[in-house]
Each structure stands twice: as C-alpha cells, then as structure tokens.
C-alpha cells in the first residue's frame, strides 16, 4: 500500500537532550498506528515535527509525495494533516459551539478569501450545510451537544479532551494525529471514546496515528505499533509482536511479574 506519510531520518536535539535520532517511519494510507513509549521518549516531538511546530535538524517528511518538512502548522493543516493535543488546546472564553464555529470559519477562509467574509448561512465546503448545522452535528457525534452553550474553560477534563479532538476533525483531515486521546479519561470510558473517535475518523477515510499509554487500548485498536525510546523507534510491528518484543518489554511496557 502506498505510504501517505513518510518520515525519513528525523533528528532533533534540544541542547544535550536528543528528542529524535534517525526516526523513520512510512505510514500507509487508511492504517491505524499506535505510538507507544515512556514519557520523554520522543512521541510528541515526532508529532510536533510532522505538523511543523518543530523543524527537524536533519531528515525530511513527505506527505503524499510532497516535501512538507519546512511548512508551518497552518499549511500542514490546510493540506489535510490535523492533530489533537496532550493538553487540550481550546478557546477558553468561548462557548463550546463557538469553538467549533471558529474552526469552520477557518475552513471557509481556506476555501477562498471570500469565505473569510461570508455570512452564517453559506454552505460549508466539504459538508454542504450551513456552519451552525455542521458544528452541531460534529458536537453531537462527540456527545457535546448539550454543552454547546457552556464556556470551554468550565468543561470537565474528559469533555475538554473530546472537544479538543472534535476541533481537530473540523477540517476533515486525511491524516489524524492524536496525542494521548484517552489520557485523563476514566478507564471504563477509554474504550468507548477511542471507538467514537476512530469511527468518526474512519467515516471520513482518515489515516490515524495515536499516542497511547494504555496497552489494552493499543492492542484493541492499533493495526501497527511504533515503540519509541530515547528518541529512537525500537520496534515497528503489529501490536502483539511489538508488545512481545524484548526491547519493548524492557524499555516501555515492563515485564509481567
């Protein structure tokens, strides 16, 4: 299968800290990939580099054949790669609905400059319906419709996570990078949320990469696992094989007592 996202030899150091050392991975279209590793292993740095927030010291990233290494985050989002955040990045003083409306407004703008100045009843490209309907439908999919009038900053942790992910979906991404989508969510709800998110993503035909610390979630949802340690990828295999890998056992998962 063709690689939709191809990272080659990414290197990144911050002073004495090596966040990435020759990280290479070719992500296939429509796949679901889990990124595992202890804190500081380089998972978020990997995502930050792919999305342009950080520029690798060496190496290149290609998306559908195009070199995106030096592009800033907004360009990369416009190309169809979107990400969610470890700590939810929301517009605190705006309502849940307005958070999504801002995102839709930007989609309108990116469809053409006239979109920037458009009225509320213009159909949103890619959705075919006016902004507010699109926003409410998206919120509904994530179970946030009842909260739509509340300010984002008063939402509880799990809802904030969901809103963060919902905002990531507004631009109809073709590649979705989720940074710890279930962190801060109670273990009973983790599976439900992952299923909800993956269903929403797959309905749009997106390729999904997700960072996760809960190995049960990884085993259940990932088709392929990339294990990070100390800035390197130490295993790249199907979940069962990856989790059985001795290096992964040593540095990431731990041995069963």
């Amino acid at each position: 299968m063709p690689a939709v996202l191809d990272a080659q030899g990414l290197c990144k150091t911050f002073g004495a800290v090596t966040a990435a050392a020759e990280v290479s991975a070719a992500i296939e279209k429509d796949s679901v990939v889990g990124l595992i590793g202890t804190n500081g292993a380089g998972k978020t740095t990997f995502i930050n580099m792919i999305t342009g927030y950080l520029k690798p010291d060496r190496g290149a990233i290609h998306y559908e054949g195009r070199d995106i290494t030096r592009l800033p985050p907004r360009e990369i989002t416009r190309l169809g790669i979107c990400r969610s955040f470890q700590i939810p990045q929301l517009y605190g003083s705006l309502t849940v609905l307005d958070n999504v409306m801002v995102g839709i407004g930007i989609v309108l703008r990116n469809a053409g400059l006239a979109g920037y100045l458009s009225r509320d009843d213009v159909p949103v490209p890619g959705f075919g319906r006016p902004a507010r309907e699109v926003a409410e439908q998206l919120l509904g999919r994530f179970g946030l419709l009842e909260d739509r009038g509340r300010n984002a900053q008063v939402l509880p942790g799990g809802a904030r996570k969901l809103l963060d992910i919902a905002l990531t979906m507004v631009a109809k991404p073709r590649v979705l990078l989720l940074d710890e989508p279930t962190s801060g969510v109670s273990s009973g709800e983790k599976f439900g949320i992952m299923q909800m998110v993956l269903d929403a993503a797959r309905a749009e035909g997106a390729t999904v990469l997700f960072v996760e610390h809960d190995m049960e979630v990884v085993s259940r949802f990932a088709q392929r696992v990339l294990a990070f340690y100390d800035g390197r990828i130490i295993a790249d295999a199907a979940p069962k094989a990856a989790l059985d890998d001795p290096q992964v056992k040593r540095y990431v998962v731990g041995h069963r007592a």
Binding site: P73, L90, Y91, G105
Partner: protein
C-alpha cells in the same frame, strides 16, 4: 434577531440625527460631531482589543487622517469633507499596511508600546517639520460638500450629517464584519493562538488586517475631527491623545458597535467636568476615573444597560 436590531438602531439613530439635528444649538452639534469622530477611532481600537491587543498609539492614524485633511486644503485647495475623510482613511490604512508587517508579529506589551512609540515618532517628526507649522500646526479650510459651500449657520449641521452618514455606514460594515469568520477569529487569537494556527489560519495575517481596518477608521475620525475643529497640530499624535481613546474604549466596552459613540459622548462630559474641577491635573482625574472603571466596570458602561445576560 439581535443583528437585525442593531442595524435598525443604527439607521434609526441616523434618521433622528438628520431630522432633529437642525434644532440643536451650535455647541451641541460640535460636541456630537467630535464624539462621532472619536467614536470611530475607538471602534477600531475595540476591534483590536477583542483580539487581546491594546494599541497605545491609535493617535498615530488619527493624526495622519487629520493632517491629510489639512494638507488637502493647504496644498491643493480641496475642502470637500467626504474627500478629506476618504483620503485620511486611505493614507492611514496605507501606513498601517506597512507598519503591520512589523506590528502584527507582536502581542501584549510589545504591541502596546510599539504602537505608542510609533505615534511618538510621528509627533517628533511633525514638531520638527516647518512646512506643516511645527508645534503650532495650521488651520483647515471650511468644509464644502460636493462643491456646495454651506453658509455659516449651515456648516455645522452639514458636517454633523456627513459625519453621521459615514459613521452609520462604518457601524454597519463593522457589525457585518463581526459576524464573519475573520471577525470571529479575534477572540480566538486572544485565547489560544497555537490552536488558531493548528486550525489552518495565520494569526499574524488576521491581526494585520484588523490593524489596517482600525487605522482606516482612526484616519477617517481624524479627518473629521480636524475639519470640525478647524485646526490641526502635532498634539493629535501625542500619547495623551491615545490615552483618551483608550479611556473611551474602556468606558464603552465591547458590547456593541454603537457603544464607542455613547462612550465618546460620556467622555466629553467627563473631560469637561474634570477640566472645570482642576484644569492643571485633569490628566490625573482621567487616570483615576480610568482606574475606577477598569476595576469596577470592566465590561464598560454598556454592561450597565444590559437587561438580559448574554452568557450564563
């Protein structure tokens, strides 16, 4: 629907102005026109404030607009009020377009003090420019309207109505703008710029546009004020001038496009009172009043008039 209500109010206010304005005494017409001029500057200031940017130097564009109006008369013999406002607005916008490449990168104190510094630079330049009268400035030709030169007792009314028309138009445009995706971007930029970038928009670009719009409004206001007062001087770019606009902005709050004009009227009253009370320290009175406002009435006087809470 709220947005229809505002448009209706704007149009109604303008009609009221045209009809009832002729009955106002000359000094009242003067005060109203000045309030309209200042209100325009503050309207722009509030647009920036929504994005979290405090411009301490809107007086820069106010002054550019004023001097443009003056120069039109002094060097080209043009005194048409609409041309003055147009040229003032365009020149201010052009300046903002250039300066925006630098300023749009900055937020918070940097943006504030940088804007202050730029206005003080203009002040310094004007003070040293003989051709424009240095510290004395110069007078402006009496206004004409599409070639018609109003008689002495019609001039103020003509200027007031022209101002009203321009302001009404500007208000409707800004009101419309606030409902567009670009208008909605301002509070998002204030809250979380990283998220804005990751949603696929350039915060810098949006700020640049807002800066230019605010400058254009200030330039039009400056030209209008100049023409009403009949005289311009470098003081219009001095930091205290910017301070007045800030004061009105705080007084008005961001509730509605009409708030700046109400605020400007109230400010005119406060200023006169403060001046009467202590002519040498009216600045201090202004500062104290501003402090009190900020601490106790952060949403501006408009929040007093709200009958229904917009947010829970």
């Amino acid at each position: 629907m709220r947005h229809d209500r505002t448009t209706t109010v704007i149009i109604a206010a303008f009609v009221l102005l045209v009809v009832a304005g002729k009955w106002l005494p000359q000094w009242a017409m003067f005060i109203m026109t000045i309030a309209l001029a200042r209100g325009l500057v503050v309207l722009g200031l509030l647009l920036l404030l929504r994005a979290g940017l405090v411009s301490f130097g809107q007086a820069l564009f106010y002054c550019i607009g004023a001097y443009a109006a003056g120069a039109l008369g002094r060097f080209f013999g043009i005194s048409d009020i609409f041309i003055e406002m147009l040229v003032g607005g365009v020149l201010a916008a052009a300046t903002a377009f250039v300066l925006g490449f630098l300023l749009a990168r900055y937020r918070g104190i940097f943006f504030g003090l940088l804007s202050l510094a730029l206005s003080m630079i203009l002040y310094g330049l004007l003070v040293k420019t003989e051709a424009l009268g240095s510290t004395d400035g110069f007078n402006i030709l009496p206004s004409t309207l599409f070639g018609w030169k109003p008689g002495a007792d019609w001039v103020r009314y003509a200027v007031l109505v022209s101002a009203g028309a321009v302001v009404a138009f500007a208000c409707m445009l800004v009101h419309r703008y606030l409902q567009t995706p670009l208008g909605r971007l301002a509070p998002a930029i204030k809250d979380n710029e990283i998220r804005v970038e990751y949603m696929g928009a350039s915060a810098r670009h949006a700020v640049h546009v807002m800066y230019v719009i605010a400058a254009a409004l200030a330039g039009i206001g400056g030209a209008l004020a100049a023409t009403t007062v009949g005289h311009i001087d470098p003081e219009m770019a001095y930091w205290t001038s910017s301070g007045e606009f800030i004061f009105i902005a705080i007084l008005a709050g961001t509730g509605n496009v009409l708030a700046p004009f109400v605020g400007a009227l109230i400010y005119g009253a406060i200023h006169t009172m403060a001046y009467d009370l202590s002519p040498n320290t009216w600045q201090m009175s202004l500062g104290v009043a501003l402090l009190v406002l900020i601490v106790f009435l952060p949403e501006g006087v408009w929040s007093l008039g709200k009958l229904r809470a917009r947010r829970t």
